[in-house]
Every structure is written in structure tokens, then in C-alpha cells.
């Protein structure tokens, strides 16, 4: 029935070839995941890991997704009687480095980082390697340097998510959007997601789209509303705003309201509850891409467990639990904090059992 809903919606206007192609992408992206597929071979010796401690170092606990990942990690690793110690990076490389160092000093069995690009705390990462502590680098890039026996990557495909978000704009506008793209300059990673994801997609897939880019970083969010206003003042024809991540949405709306631009559509990434609620309420937000944080934690735990058990980690894991939400499928979701935690928005949740089996802990 999703198909028909989509046709009733914006897709009906998709007449150009570009828009049709983009619509394909959107339709694919809005689907839920049906069932779990193991990311690699079974792991031996997980039962030997009981009593060990793993450090989880998120970039900042202020971003809710990391809290979700942290508690899911506790569940996943808890199944192997492995303790999880969380150390908040507080959006500050010095804290991130201190946290990693803390894991090293405490002789952790593994360190899992959340959204910390290697070069943000390169020294600390290197120290961990030297100390022989396996590291799982999550939520930055799908692959990178490092010995798979000691260094693993795991991430939603942010580049793809950015690209799909752009595809929604292309499809919805019939390949004639006047888009304001709001890019986060915080780290090299966020820049790569923007450039290789969204901006490359517009360039490649929508020659008639007009794209204006403004840049913001976490330290300057106070200036974002008026920056958005000024762009709309200069260019009142802007009809779409794509924000790179959800924490830009509120200041963006603020700026749009000032410019009285209340019919602009916003596309964004992360799938936070707040943004999805706005999507459901029809309040400017019209498209969201996000990923299942609970599943991500299990996948990350899997990588950690592999290395802790003396096996190489999987390289280039394609993390499947990603989805796009639009007016067409938003009503299927239970928009509560509880439901968010279960990961049910993204489809099946049988990955938990799947991993337990893979680790030889089932039953």
C-alpha cells in the first residue's frame, strides 16, 4: 500500500526523467528492513569474554542518538557479560582524547568511539593501537586505515543518506528545486558527507536544480536563523531546504519563520523523534532519513566482540538499518521515545537474536 500512497503524493508530479529516477531512489529508501542478515562469520570464544570492560566514547552525550547507542551497547555486550563504561566526549576533542586515554589506562578490552573522526583525536587513537587495544570507530566512515584485527569501522552510510535526502528533494520538486543546503563544518567527516552525498547528487542528478550552500558549525548556531532569513530575503524563490543533520532544523525553521517563508519544505537527516514529530505534524519538515541506533550498537558490538575474541573485524560492513520517512510512511510509526528505543521504526528487530546466535550465545 506504500506504493499507492506514494503515487497519490508528490510522485504524481514527477514527470521529468531526473525526477523519476530520484523517485525510484526514494521509494527504495522508504522501505523497512525485512530481516536480519549476518554481517560475517560466526565468532568463537565469546563466552570467554565475560568480565571484561569495553569503553564507549561518544562525541557528545547531548546528541540523543549516542544515548540510544550506549544503552543498546550495554544490552548487546551485556549478553556476553561484558561491561560497558561510557565516557562522554562532550563535543570536545580534548575530552574525547581523555576518554580514550582513560580506556587505555583502564586496560579496556576494546574502545568503541561514536562519531569521532580519527583525526579529531589522532594521538589518542594511535595510543590505543600501540597499547594493543582494539578500536571500533563508529559513525564516521565505512572503512579506513588500520589492521582489521585491531581496528574496525562501522557506520550508517551517511554519504548515501545525504544523497537520498537530496533525491527526495529532486523527486518532490520534479527536478526543479531551488534548494538551500545547510552544511555542517564541524569536522572533515561532516564536510565529506555533504560534498560527496547531497551536493554531488544535485550536481549529477538534477541539472535544473539551483543549489545555494550555507555553512554552519555547532559553535555558531545562534547566527544560523538570521543566515537562513538573509538567504530567503535575497532569494525568495527558494522552496526547499536540506539540512545536513537534525540539530540544524530548529534554527532553520526559526529563520524561515522570520522570513515568513512558511511553505518551504525541509529535508533532513538523523530521524530524531523531534524532527519526525514535525514531519508528522506537517510543519515544514517533509522528509527525514535516519538509521536504527539500536541496531547500530549491535553491529558495533559485533565488531568489538570479533576483535576481542582474537578474530579480525569485518571490513566495509554495509549497515542496512537505514530508512527514509516522508508523509507517506510516517503514520506507520509509533512516535514515542519508547518506540524509538526499540528500533522498530526501521523494520524487523530480529537482529538481536541473530547476533546472539552468531556469537554462540543463543539459547
Amino acid at each position: 500500500e506504500e506504493q499507492s500512497a506514494a503515487e497519490a503524493g508528490s510522485a504524481a508530479q514527477a514527470t521529468s526523467a531526473e525526477a523519476k529516477a530520484a523517485q525510484q531512489v526514494v521509494e527504495e529508501a522508504t522501505k523497512a528492513v525485512e530481516s536480519f542478515e549476518a554481517p560475517g562469520d560466526a565468532v568463537d570464544g565469546v563466552d570467554q569474554l565475560a568480565g571484561k570492560t569495553v569503553y564507549f566514547v561518544p562525541a557528545t552525550y547531548q546528541v540523543p542518538v549516542f544515548q540510544a547507542v550506549a544503552s543498546a551497547l550495554e544490552n548487546a555486550l551485556g549478553a556476553a557479560d561484558v561491561q560497558v563504561e561510557v565516557c562522554d566526549g562532550k563535543a570536545n576533542p580534548a575530552n574525547m582524547a581523555s576518554c580514550i586515554q582513560q580506556g587505555i589506562d583502564a586496560e579496556a578490552a576494546a574502545i568503541i568511539t561514536g562519531s569521532i573522526p580519527t583525526d579529531l583525536a589522532s594521538v589518542a587513537f594511535e595510543s590505543a593501537q600501540k597499547a594493543g587495544i582494539p578500536v571500533v570507530n563508529t559513525m564516521t566512515a565505512p572503512a579506513g586505515p588500520g589492521d582489521p584485527a585491531q581496528y574496525a569501522y562501522l557506520t550508517p552510510d551517511y554519504v548515501a543518506l545525504q544523497s537520498r535526502s537530496a533525491s527526495w528533494v529532486i523527486a518532490d520538486s520534479d527536478a526543479a528545486a531551488n534548494v538551500l543546503y545547510i552544511q555542517v563544518t564541524d569536522t572533515p567527516a561532516t564536510t565529506i558527507w555533504a560534498e560527496q552525498g547531497a551536493l554531488a547528487t544535485y550536481e549529477r542528478d538534477c541539472p535544473d536544480c539551483e543549489v545555494t550552500v550555507i555553512k554552519a558549525n555547532t559553535g555558531q548556531l545562534d547566527k544560523l536563523p538570521s543566515l537562513v532569513t538573509s538567504e530567503l530575503t535575497k532569494n525568495p524563490d527558494i522552496d526547499y531546504v536540506q539540512t545536513e543533520v537534525d540539530f540544524l532544523v530548529q534554527p532553520t525553521i526559526d529563520g524561515l519563520q522570520t522570513a515568513n517563508a512558511t511553505s518551504v519544505k525541509i529535508a533532513s537527516m538523523d530521524g530524531t523523534l523531534a524532527a519526525l514529530q514535525q514531519l508528522e505534524g506537517g510543519q515544514l519538515v517533509s522528509s527525514e532519513v535516519g538509521f536504527n541506533a539500536d541496531a547500530l550498537a549491535w553491529y558495533a558490538a559485533d565488531q568489538a566482540v570479533r576483535m576481542m575474541a582474537g578474530q579480525p573485524s569485518n571490513t566495509e560492513v554495509a549497515f542496512p538499518y537505514q530508512r527514509m520517512f516522508t508523509a507517506e510512511n510516517i503514520d506507520d510509526l509509533d512516535l514515542t521515545p519508547e518506540a524509538e528505543k526499540t528500533g522498530a521504526w526501521y523494520g524487523s528487530t530480529d537482529y538481536q537474536d541473530g547476533f546472539l546466535e552468531l556469537w554462540g550465545l543463543a539459547g
Partner: protein, 338 residues
């Protein structure tokens, strides 16, 4: 003077008379120049940006005045405490607490908006009361108290909102903040009314006079029969009330609230309040000066953005203009006086 120079005990002595004191003794034309120099500067800057930016005037004005900023409220909160000689670092946190509370109670816990708004404001005022008890009653240094209380308020705000930014308030509520009157949103008019009332109270009523004496010299004020403790406590409560209301109005306007963004208002609010002391009632913390300073700074940043500058340029501008405006004002005043 008074409270301003408290942090600058030397500024009033040779060789560098401060901007503030003595203003009242300067000749009338110098006073006028001083009073309205910031407004003049503002108009000139606005005109230059408008001409350069080449956008319709109404859009230009809306970009400045239709902003959904709590800065006027927060600036007023700071003026209220500063004027009686108190130093408050907790106001952005109390604002954040209020905004988070109203949004969370409605969205996450299903309260009705009026009830949630009331709860949020009461909570904010409660924090103001804690500040007052610790600073005025227990006599603890206000910088430490408000650092501590602010941190607690911020923590509670995160707890209530389950550490996330909450949205999903009924869209129609945004009319509280955004319904347009004469082309500008309610939140602008609230600010205008607030500032006018506050300016009236501070300049024309006994309460304002009492605040002035309490800010200037508490012992003298006490001997003159002014209820010093009550005035000080009142300032803390008023300030927190304003933060509370600002939180509710902002949350309504945005349909939600993000607590972590609140701390961004710390520096701009302070900047406006202090910049405001060079205008209208030179040398005193005053609402009209603060109001002008808020829109002065907004105009500058917005103008630059229209010209295509973003990021670091606006920071540099912001800082440069702040210092330049105050330095120029000090200079003009000194020249006119000599």
C-alpha cells in the same frame, strides 16, 4: 556608573574617565549626542547595508524585526539584576529550563499547554528564588551561586526533556509568538511592551528610584528606608520570571525547544546590556538602551549576511563593532566634555 564601574573601580579615575559616570553633568548637547549616538550609528549602518544589499525594504526590515529572538527578554532579565548590583550567569539556563519544561510536559507527558506553561514559569521563578536566597540571604558571592544554580537548572532541563530537543507542540500555539500585527510577529511586540513598561518603571516610579539607590549604595539605600532586601530579591524573581516567559514564548513559536542552544544567548545578552549603557540613559543599565543594542547587533549581523558574509566575518564584525561603538561613545563624550 555604579554597578558598571563596580567591576571597573579604576575606570572613573584619571587618566581614563569611564563612559559612564559624570554623564549627567555634561552639557545638554553633549548629553544628547551621547544619548542618541548609538541610534544614529544604527540608522547609518542599517542604511548602508540596505543600499548595498539591494533587497526590498519590507524584507529587510522583517529580517531584522521579525526575528524570533528571546534576546530582548533575556536582556531585560539581565538589566533587572544588573541595575541593583547583582551579577547573574544563570539566566540562559533558567530560560532553557523553562523552554524544555513546557515543551516536554506537553509533548512527552501530555499536559495541556497552559498548565505546562504555568509549571515552566513557576519552575523558573523557583530558581530565581534559590538565587535570591543564596545571594541575598546567605550572602554568597553571586558569580558562584549563579554558576552553580545555572548548572543545576541546565541539568534539570535536560532531564525533563530526556536529553533531547523536543518538538511537536501544536502548530496553532505558534500564534502566541508569531501571529503578525502590523507586519511584525507578536514576540517583537511583547518585547516592545516589556521594554516600554520597564523603562517607565525604572525611570518614573519609586521602585525605579529604589533600584537606582540599591544599585548605587546599599547602605545609603537602607538608611533611606528602602527595603533593600526586598528590592534585591524582587530583581532576582523578576529576572527569572522573564527568563521563564521567554522560554515558554520561544517554545510556542518554534513548536519545541532545544535546551543546548540556550547558552548561545549568554554573550549576546550581556553584550546588548552593556552596549545599552552607552545609550538613552548613558552610564546606567537601561531597558531602552538594551533594546536598541539588541537590534543594533542584529542589524549588523543580518546586513553582513545579506552581503554574503557568514561564519567568521560575522564574529569579527560583532566583536569589532561592540568595542568600536563603546570606544567611540567614550571618545565623543570626552571630547564634548573638554
Amino acid at each position: 556608573m555604579t554597578t558598571i564601574t563596580e567591576h571597573e573601580p579604576d575606570a572613573s579615575s584619571d587618566p581614563a574617565p569611564d563612559t559612564a559616570s559624570r554623564a549627567r553633568r555634561t552639557p545638554p548637547y553633549a548629553q544628547l549626542a551621547q544619548r542618541f549616538s548609538l541610534i544614529g550609528l544604527w540608522v547609518v549602518m542599517g542604511a548602508v547595508f540596505f543600499v548595498l544589499a539591494d533587497v526590498p525594504l519590507s524584507n529587510f526590515l522583517q529580517g531584522i524585526f521579525a526575528r524570533q529572538t528571546p534576546l530582548v527578554f533575556l536582556g531585560m532579565a539581565v538589566v533587572a539584576t544588573m541595575a541593583v548590583g547583582e551579577f547573574d550567569l544563570s539566566f540562559p539556563s533558567v530560560y532553557a529550563l523553562s523552554g524544555s519544561t513546557v515543551a516536554s510536559l506537553v509533548v512527552l507527558h501530555g499536559w495541556s499547554f497552559p498548565l505546562a506553561a504555568l509549571a515552566a514559569i513557576v519552575l523558573a521563578v523557583l530558581f530565581g528564588a534559590v538565587n535570591a536566597v543564596l545571594v541575598v540571604r546567605a550572602g554568597i558571592n553571586s558569580v558562584i551561586v549563579t554558576l552553580g544554580v545555572g548548572s543545576v537548572a541546565l541539568g534539570l532541563g535536560s532531564w525533563i526533556s530526556e536529553e533531547t530537543s523536543v518538538s511537536g507542540l501544536d502548530f496553532t500555539l505558534s500564534n502566541i509568538a508569531l501571529a503578525r500585527v502590523a507586519g511584525l510577529p507578536m514576540i517583537f511586540w511583547y518585547g516592545v511592551v516589556l521594554v516600554v513598561v520597564a523603562a517607565y518603571v525604572m525611570s518614573a516610579t519609586p521602585l525605579g528610584r529604589h533600584m537606582l539607590f540599591v544599585g548605587a549604595n546599599r547602605d545609603v539605600a537602607r538608611l533611606a528606608g528602602i527595603p533593600v532586601t526586598r528590592v534585591r530579591v524582587g530583581a532576582w524573581l523578576t529576572s527569572s520570571l522573564l527568563c521563564g516567559v521567554a522560554g515558554v514564548v520561544t517554545a510556542a513559536g518554534l513548536g519545541g525547544f532545544n535546551a543546548t542552544s540556550a547558552r548561545e544567548y549568554f554573550l549576546p545578552a550581556f553584550a546588548s546590556v552593556f552596549l545599552g549603557t552607552v545609550a538613552v540613559v548613558p552610564g546606567r543599565f537601561n531597558p531602552l538602551g538594551m533594546f536598541i543594542a539588541v537590534y543594533f547587533l542584529i542589524t549588523g549581523v543580518f546586513g553582513l549576511q545579506l552581503l554574503g558574509y557568514q561564519g567568521w566575518v560575522t564574529d569579527v564584525f560583532y566583536g569589532g563593532v561592540l568595542v568600536a561603538a563603546v570606544a567611540a561613545s567614550a571618545y565623543v563624550q570626552r571630547r564634548l566634555r573638554s
